[in-house]
């Protein structure tokens, strides 16, 4: 006991002496609460329970990625402490958990919290407290608003970006086509529809019919019939999985064969295509920005090799077919990149500055050619996607990487 105490005293005095000696060097290191010489505390909020708990794999993949970074020596010598709480997808609970992370756990920032209304609930608080709310896991376009909310940034391509890409594709392939849109009557659907119109610009009159549906409707057959009757040759289905499958089935049933585009959220082969039927799904179009963990074409890909190694070593329970794992890996990699760029200046100010100056960063699990770029006036990290077509039993990528930026 005595020796232990004495040893501690020695260590403390040695440390003190060192500090005194290195004072000029220390002056260059700056920290906000949550960061120190040895540790960076990152907060996260995920729906581990409740209606959206299928997304919890994202949080688990992120946690595993930070474990991997720690096992390899941390970020500039600092270990990441990842504190992830459950909000059950309920906005009031998100507020409670965010306040707990910021005020009680003293995290440096909140990373990758999931959901649109949950993140909306804490956006004002985070900006008032000036704590970074980085790489929000939601496709709403509202996260790209650096003027009003300089502490909040999205990550994935917004629904509007994706819709703009379809607009570009349509204007190139079928410039005189008539477009029929089926959209879910909520923020997801409306964001999308707006992006589509913005993308079409003065050719928005190509849309001959906009048909909303509510998630409470048991079947959407009637809407599909209406769209066919309106003479649409291009069918854009802004739908969630259950309804996307219904629309594919109904179109085949009434012998309607338009150019059929489904939104990226409904491209799951197991969840949409298989229930609708492989045969009638041939030729359906969509767009993607991540590599598919189940696609053998990536077996020789360097990035995916690292991803598969990561799964084997740090996240063995994860299902690599689950798009959430690929997503969480890439998002966590982006977070680590930003922290590396911060060097020894781990203030919240500098974190936002570095997050807004990412240049051509390529996470391992994004499609080749898709890069992450941000600027002080552009808080939308991913804005590119690649078109894909359903062929046989898989999605086949084709064409170039398309950017939603209208100038390019």
């Amino acid at each position: 006991m005595m020796t232990a105490v004495r040893f501690q005293v020695v260590v403390f005095s040695a440390a003190f002496a060192l500090c005194a000696a290195m004072n000029p060097a220390l002056a260059q290191k700056s920290y906000d609460s949550g960061a120190s010489d040895t540790e960076i505390k990152i907060g996260n909020i995920m729906p581990y329970s409740g209606p959206a708990s299928a997304y919890a794999v994202i949080g688990k993949a992120e946690e595993a990625y930070f474990n991997k970074v720690n096992a390899e020596g941390g970020i500039n010598g600092r270990k990441v402490k990842f504190i992830s709480y459950d909000d059950a997808y309920s906005p009031p609970k998100t507020v409670e958990q965010a306040r707990k992370l910021v005020e009680s756990d003293n995290v440096l920032l909140i990373f990758g919290s999931l959901g649109t209304s949950t993140n909306s609930a804490i956006r004002k608080y985070m900006n008032e407290k000036k704590v970074p709310q980085l790489f929000v896991a939601s496709g709403a376009s509202k996260w790209n608003d650096p003027q009003n909310f300089p502490w909040t940034m999205g990550w994935q391509p917004s629904y509007a970006s994706e819709a703009k890409i379809y607009a570009k594709y349509i204007m190139k392939e079928k410039p005189d086509g008539k477009i029929g849109v089926l959209y879910q009557n909520d923020d997801f659907g409306k964001d999308y529809l707006k992006g589509l119109k913005d993308g079409l610009g003065d050719k928005a009159s190509m849309i001959v019919m906009e048909e909303p549906y509510d998630t409470s409707e048991p079947a959407i057959d009637e809407h599909v019939v209406k769209l066919k009757a309106a003479g649409a040759e291009i069918f854009i289905s802004i739908t969630t999985p259950k309804f996307a499958a219904q629309a594919i089935k109904k179109a085949a049933e009434i012998n309607w064969h338009p150019m059929h585009i489904v939104s990226n959220v409904s491209t799951s082969v197991g969840g949409v295509i298989e229930p609708a039927g492989y045969e009638i799904s041939q030729g359906i179009l969509s767009a993607s920005y991540t590599k598919d963990g189940s696609d053998p074409q990536w077996n020789a890909d360097e990035g995916m090799k690292r991803f598969y190694n990561f799964i084997a070593q740090f996240n063995p329970k994860a299902n690599k077919l689950d798009a959430g794992v690929v997503f969480g890996y890439a998002a966590a990699q982006t977070m680590v990149k930003v922290l590396q760029m911060c060097g020894d200046n781990l203030t919240r100010d500098n974190i936002m500055k570095q997050a807004a100056s990412l240049k051509d960063f390529e996470p391992d699990t994004l499609l080749p050619g898709i890069t992450i770029n941000t600027a002080p006036d552009n808080f939308a990290p991913i804005e590119q996607l690649q078109m894909m077509r359903f062929k046989g039993k898989t999605w086949e990528l084709f064409g170039e990487i398309i950017s939603s930026d209208l100038g390019h």
């Binding site: 306040r99 209304s117 509202k142």
Partner: protein
């Protein structure tokens, strides 16, 4: 009488609580009140926020307690009234710039109307059937809040951000602390009102209906009126609680007022002890803190852990916090004798 009738009549589930047993003794009340006043002075803002949550959720549980413990009617639709209250407050504050302390009474009045109206058809139903009807109300509410023609005011699915009020008269306290004391005053006022209500003529009428409807009407109690009145009062208090929650959380969205909330409130009432008003705060504490404890034990199985804890409570102390309080009282009495 068959088993089914037993359930429908609901005599078993809502035990008759004598009205004196509905409240705390004076000494205990003073201690609890002093604690509620003193604790925030020494706590961090986050803890104060949690305590505020405790107070307004406690208020919502109290409202359900008046309905179920007082008049013997079940409701799984309290989240609907809570949501209406929250939205009325948020829309008035943000779209019409009305001060928050004026919004709360309006939220109460609107919810009283909604509750009273809903009480009319509910008159024909009792027991599990009433629970089911109110359940329908709770499931419908999030969708009604998303309606297009209301979107101008409610913000639709995006919800509405609410500005937190500062402490008035330049008082040197944080927004959280001010809101806590404001909530405490509102909750205390409503608590005292509720205790007096249950001790009044109306309260006796409620309890007479709860214990035996036919006997009550034979005594001259207007059963229909008092049943709807109980619904109205309960809805009004729930609405005020919802309004307080909108101010404290600074955000309202349809997703905040789902059936899960209604079930949580129901749970809070049972854990706190049906018909025992002070138990409402204990019940609220259970629904706020126990999920956090469960999450701390196991993230993947937090739901299962919560279930086990809930099961233990129901198994060991079926009458909830009231039973614990009575046991404590007996123990104290025995110690005093020795």
């Amino acid at each position: 009488m068959s088993a089914v009738e037993d359930v429908v009549e609901g005599h078993e589930a809502v035990e008759a609580v004598p009205k004196r047993a509905m409240t705390l003794g004076t000494g205990t009340s003073v201690v609890v009140l002093l604690l509620l006043i003193a604790v925030p002075l020494f706590a961090k803002n986050f803890v104060i926020f949690q305590l505020t949550q405790l107070l307004y959720l406690g208020l919502a549980v109290l409202a359900l307690n008046i309905l179920t413990g007082g008049s013997g009617q079940f409701s799984l639709g309290q989240s609907a009234f809570y949501g209406i209250g929250a939205y009325v407050t948020a829309v008035m504050m943000e779209q019409f710039n009305i001060p928050y302390f004026l919004c709360l009474p309006v939220a109460g009045v609107v919810c009283f109307g909604a509750g009273f109206l809903f009480g009319q058809p509910a008159l024909r139903l009792s027991g599990v059937y009433l629970a089911l009807a109110t359940f329908a109300l709770a499931t419908a509410m999030p969708q009604l809040l998303k309606l297009n023609f209301l979107e101008k005011w409610t913000g639709g699915v995006q919800g509405l951000v609410v500005t937190k009020p500062d402490a008035p008269f330049g008082l040197p306290m944080s927004q959280d602390m001010w809101l806590y004391y404001f909530t405490l005053v509102v909750v205390l006022a409503i608590y005292i009102f509720s205790v007096n209500l249950l001790r009044s003529r109306s309260g006796r009428a409620f309890m007479a209906i709860r214990d035996n409807e036919i006997a009550a009407s034979a005594m001259g109690v207007n059963v229909a009126l008092y049943k709807t009145l109980a619904f109205g009062v309960s809805a009004a208090i729930t609405g005020v609680a919802g309004g307080l929650s909108a101010i404290a959380v600074q955000f309202v969205a349809p997703d905040s007022f789902t059936i899960t909330l209604a079930i949580q409130l129901f749970l809070g009432m049972v854990v706190g002890g049906v018909g025992w008003l002070p138990g409402s705060i204990v019940g609220a504490a259970f629904i706020i803190f126990v999920p956090n404890i469960a999450e701390g034990i196991s993230k993947g199985l937090s739901g299962a852990v919560f279930g086990v804890l809930l099961f233990l409570v129901i198994y060991l102390v079926p009458h909830g916090a009231r039973q614990v309080a009575i046991l404590g009282q007996q123990l104290a009495g025995r110690l005093r004798k020795n």
